[in-house]
């Protein structure tokens, strides 16, 4: 039962967040999600259940998508974390960010950071995913707004652009069918 326990001394770890090494002190029972949001002020990482049941808090840990709500902050010492704040290169958006914005793949935008990072990991590993491979890769991220379809289209368009193709969205993606 949740009786108060004496507060432990803060833990201090060093990790690489979005390409920058930083040291951070935090209460040692905190998850990576809490450390990012509350101790590093990186609130771009969202949360929908804190139990590993929705995918909203997905970040890249050493390049692999993981659920930051189930990773202990202490377990991240010396590791590499990428959050949505680190996707853009300087002022230039990542192609996935461009296509998510243009195709309406972000409606309320709350699940979007998790989808973007999962999709980025997919495209890093598989530059030409089929629709089924995209569905499989994103099957751990729930979205209640889009029905996922605009997300698939955004991933496909970004994949094409990352391959250097001069790709544009399909007309029915932007205008529906008439």
């Amino acid at each position: 039962m949740p009786r108060p326990r004496p507060t432990a001394d803060p833990a201090v770890i060093t990790l690489e967040v979005n390409g920058e090494r930083c040291a951070v002190a935090f209460a040692p029972h905190k998850t990576l999600l809490e450390v990012l949001r509350e101790d590093l002020d990186l609130t771009g990482t969202k949360h929908g259940c804190e139990l590993g049941e929705c995918g909203t808090c997905t970040v890249l840990l050493d390049d692999a998508p993981v659920l930051s709500c189930l990773v202990l902050g202490l377990a991240c010492d010396g590791r590499r974390v990428r959050t949505v704040e680190g996707m853009a290169e300087g002022a230039r958006l990542h192609p996935l960010q461009e296509t998510f914005a243009d195709l309406g793949a972000a409606q309320c935008g709350y699940c979007t950071p998790g989808f973007l990072l999962t999709a980025q990991a997919l495209l890093d590993a598989n530059p030409r995913p089929t629709r089924d491979e995209i569905k499989a890769a994103l099957a751990g991220n729930l979205c209640r707004c889009t029905g996922y379809l605009k997300i698939y289209e955004a991933v496909e368009l970004a994949a094409a652009r990352l391959r250097g193709e001069d790709a544009e969205p399909a007309r029915e993606t932007l205008y529906g069918r008439r």
């Binding site: 809490e34 993981v66 099957a139 751990g140």
Partner: protein
């Protein structure tokens, strides 16, 4: 947000350090591998270790799969380190080629990010599940708790002296069907147990593993001469635990079944082998009536309880269908 309680965290670099840490921590210590089972349980206060001992930094638990020669004292086959992530397991080329049933079982677990975290060993030790138990502290308080944690009664079967929480690992029935051997390291040294003997049919004491023992590896039998498959029933193609798992294994002698095992997941507190179902197929070519006999034999002892998704009568009904379909798959592949 839901947060973890406070605890002491140990990050040993070797098995010996881990075992020592556990000894010092006593009953308040627990091992954690991927954390995908323990941390949600801790957040809902099902499990409240004072000391959490991470196995993630132990190199010996994370070796790539190795093939043993048939001259090996442990027999031929493959050795899988328990600390392999489920993603590493199901994407490994040799695992996919030589043990497709293991790859399939692993690939069907939960979600892609969770498979990047969860481990083979963690899945085999997965806490039994029950929707009277996998609830928040406040929710459980509203029912005066249950015998698995903080309470006295099993709400699934209130007159029962035991807990009926459900074995929900996908790999457990697969390993029992394959007759894999599990390697345990403890303070007194190493021991090896057949997968079937790793589990108890009790929702609370569901493992024969001692609390201070660490599951270090799984030894798969040499491939060849046998075939196996795993079917999983659940509401959605992702996230969900099995409400029924069927692992089917046969050894062929020509076009006839020389040996067979059917192991059910999700319908008892342990992976439940149904020997009658295996026996019903012996000597057959898995023709229709043999399938029906095996499916009926598996149906009879399958006793899902009202503590997972879906109605229990439908889940029981599906045992028949899924066993038949698993065997059809094996038959069709053998042709």
């Amino acid at each position: 947000m839901l947060r973890l309680p406070t605890f002491t965290y140990l990050a040993p670099r070797s098995l010996a350090q881990a075992l020592r840490g556990k000894t010092e921590a006593g009953p308040g210590g627990m091992y954690v591998a991927g954390g995908t089972d323990l941390y949600p349980n801790m957040k809902r206060r099902h499990q409240e270790p004072a000391v959490v001992i991470s196995l993630a930094g132990i190199r010996a638990l994370r070796r790539p799969p190795t093939i043993r020669r048939s001259g090996d004292p442990a027999g031929g086959g493959m050795r899988l380190s328990a600390g392999l992530t489920l993603t590493e397991l199901h994407t490994h080329r040799r695992v996919r080629r030589l043990y497709p049933v293991v790859a399939r079982g692993a690939e069907l677990i939960s979600t892609p990010p969770l498979r990047n975290m969860g481990t083979l060993g963690g899945n085999l030790c997965l806490d039994t599940r029950c929707n009277y138990y996998n609830q928040s502290y406040e929710w459980r308080k509203a029912i005066d708790f249950c015998m698995k944690k903080d309470g006295a009664i099993c709400w699934v079967a209130p007159s029962s002296p035991r807990c009926w929480a459900v074995q929900s690992s996908d790999l457990a029935p697969v390993m029992v069907a394959l007759d894999a051997r599990l390697v345990l390291a403890g303070p007194a040294g190493e021991r090896v147990v057949p997968a079937a003997r790793f589990y108890h049919n009790d929702g609370i004491n569901y493992l024969t593993k001692q609390p201070d023992e660490i599951l270090t590896a799984v030894e798969l039998p040499a491939p060849g001469g046998w075939d196996a498959t795993y079917l999983k029933l659940r509401r959605r193609g992702s996230f969900d635990f099995p409400v029924l798992g069927v692992a089917a294994w046969v050894r062929w002698d020509g076009d006839r079944v020389a040996e067979a095992r059917i192991v059910l997941g999700g319908v008892a507190s342990h992976p439940q082998e149904v020997p009658e179902a295996g026996a019903a197929m012996l000597g057959s070519r898995l023709e229709a009536d043999a399938l029906e006999a095996a499916a009926s034999a598996a149906f009879r002892p399958s006793k899902p309880m009202d503590n997972t998704d879906f109605t229990l009568s439908w889940r029981k009904e599906m045992t028949r269908t899924y066993v038949r379909r698993a065997l059809e798959e094996l038959r069709d592949r053998h042709r």
